[in-house]
Amino acid sequence: MNQAGVNDKYKVSPFYVFFLVHSMQTGIGVLSFQRVLAKSAGTDGWISIILAGLIVHIMIWIIYKIFSIVPGDIISANTQALGKWLGNFFNLLFIIYFLILGMTVIISYINVVHVWMFEEVPSWAFALVFLILIYYINSGGFRTVTGVTFLSVLLTYWLLFDLIYAMKYAEFTNLLPIFDHSILDILKGVKDNSLTMIGFELILMFYPFIKDAKTSQKYAHGGALTTTLLTVFIYLVSLVFYSQKQLVLTIWPTLTMTSVVELPFIQRFEYIEISWWALVIIPNMTISLWAASRGFKRLFNVQQKYPLWGMSIIILLINIFVFDMDSLYILNKIINPYGLYFICLYLPLLLLIIYTKKLRKRL
């Protein structure tokens, strides 16, 4: 149980960690983070993003440090550090966290589709198709999950072109004033920005699936760095495109920005962007649900498909009975302060416990 033994055949090369981390971080958050950030940090929002990026790097360092002492995944690390009962309690928390993360992504995306494209289609219909797709991907094992993630990152980067197109209407004085906000505001911005930053913690689950996992640390940092730079870029473009007051009122600034694109044969680019965004979102959902079901499998020794079915049914039921805006409100609350604090406080603590245990053993 301690060693999360994975056959070499099912492992992936270390450099895919770049794509796994980057893709997991860049999800639904990128479409809408600007509004909240602009509210709290305004023109200094980019400082918050960079600070948040720094925190992510520290957390990734902590994760790799943990695994350099106790190789395996978070499930075995928890039980090794905290004993069977307490360890398994935290394992359960992690599983729930991953499930909620996946659920949030699915429901947020369905919400976007509802608002922008198909208002009459019921949520559960979308959820059903997504869940079948997720099951199909997951049934190919982690290798397939990685493949879909990798291709989705490669296939979506061209969307950046419509940000560059939007720069045609840039008003660069909007960037000023710099250092206008108090440190408290900027720190609040760090917190508000979290939805575009979380996702790196999935390393906790897929670490045993990486060949020469220790060498993958630079790729993890690279992925996080790319996300930070991308987010800063998007934020700066939004700042110069919108005025401050407008930005605070726009729910999905990235999407609204793309609707100005007009080519001779095509216009209203946001339809394409939203549809294409499915490619970005699906790996997000898949990895989270994969992690949750894998954790469940490790904890209770069942076949992975059963927890996956169970979780799919839970998500489907929520989509049938709860209106997406309502559930999203609750889920975002859970993820944003609580999930975030949980990850950011628990992981250093875990490292501390493991480290002292190791020292004591040596003494």
């Binding site: 397939t144 493949g147 879909v148 990798f150 291709l151 044969f265 339809y271 549809s275």
Partner: protein, 506 residues
Amino acid sequence: MLFNRRNSQKNLNRKDDFNKVSDIRSLFNSLSSSNDFINHQGNLKGIGYWVSFYRSLIDGQELHESVLSVIPTLETISLEQIKENIPIENTLITSTRKVIEERIMRGEIAIRLDTNLDECLLINIASKQGRQIGKPELEFGIISPQEAFVEDIDINLNLVRKRLPIPELQVNELTVGSLSKTKVAVIYIEGIVEQENVDTVIQRINEIEFDEILDGSNLAQMLYDESNTLFPLFLHTERPDRIASALSEGKVAMVIDRSSSALIAPTILLEYFITMEDYNMPWVPASAFRLLRIFAVIFSIFATPLYVAVLTFHYELIPKDLLETIVASRNLIPFPPLIEALFLEISIELLREAAARLPTKVGQTLGIVGGIVIGQAAVVAGLTSNILLIIVALSALASFVTPIYKMGNAIRLLRFPFLLGAQIWGLLGIALASVFLMTHLIKLTSMGHPYLEPIYPFRIKDWKDSFVRLPFNFFKSRPVNLRTENVTRQPQKQKTSKKRKNDFNE
């Protein structure tokens, strides 16, 4: 006690002998019940002899020239004597029933003497009926060799061996099919191929328990890793040069008797968009045409679904000038875009299927009648719009550019799920269908090797010959994917004499 046992053993032996005797006679008796089995009786110097064969399997002229006319010239008659004097190799004197039966069924004749009817001399004069080597029909190439495989395994092996005259080229012959007894030759170059691949192929062929294997594609389906897929996992080809090039890359080839298509395994998706012509052209046009082919395939899958998606859900996507044209061409059509598209797609599929089943001349006429008359009439009658007609015709055309016919078939069918997705959720439906397709391709393996390589797993070294075909000095190593034993294709030496200096000719 001891004596007794020996005695009983002798008895047993005698019994065996007796059985064998009756075995061979009964074999000939049962063979004779078929009307095309001939028992020719001759007499030479008082000793009668029998020549037995299937009339339909042997070459009559050869029989007269090399066998029947030789026998009367002999001084004494015995099977050994005949064997010595007949100018045909690989003859055999035996009295084993199984061997005799097998060989007679492959077109050999059996000669027996009246003195011992249980011993046969088997001589191979099988008739080699079949086509002459012709031009490739399915994979025609303008600037490549004009030879194609025929239905005879020996001629096909000859075509391959002539291109790779090295002793390392190994042929491993197997027989499959309980009724058809099809000969399958597994070919590979020892020292290059990964032995595990060969073993897997041979093992899978041996595991087949089916009564008839009549063609290469028939066999291939039984060897696939995954049978629930549209995509061909083994490459069928009728070009010997393609087989030779695959073998030298480190793949395994299979040549099947009575089938003009040989198989290559393992393969990757992009290989199906490669023609042998790509290697006979400078790398820039070769790469350009390859990219064109890949673009054509993508176009042929997505064009009609995009039309349906945009016109059903997303009118806003089209700028107003273009929209006017489209609306003008559609304003008399009473159907939703999906029905319109399905109507045209299915009629094109009908045309294609009908043209494939008809003789060439009729097929041409049908193409004109179907393509021009029906298409034009459908537009005039207000059943479809002009624009869709153009899109559907173009995408049908585009699906023909794949050099491998089977891949074309897969692409032909792939567009229908996408059409369905487009009808249900527009662009989102197409996106979701694409993710399904992507996942399917990632999951597929050919002989255990990932199908989507070098895209995923990402291997930059193999990109030299995938979407583009880089110059040959990039072809230093064999594909990583195949894990070949010998990796280098050309020695890593510095070119000395031919290297030009960039000095503006001084």
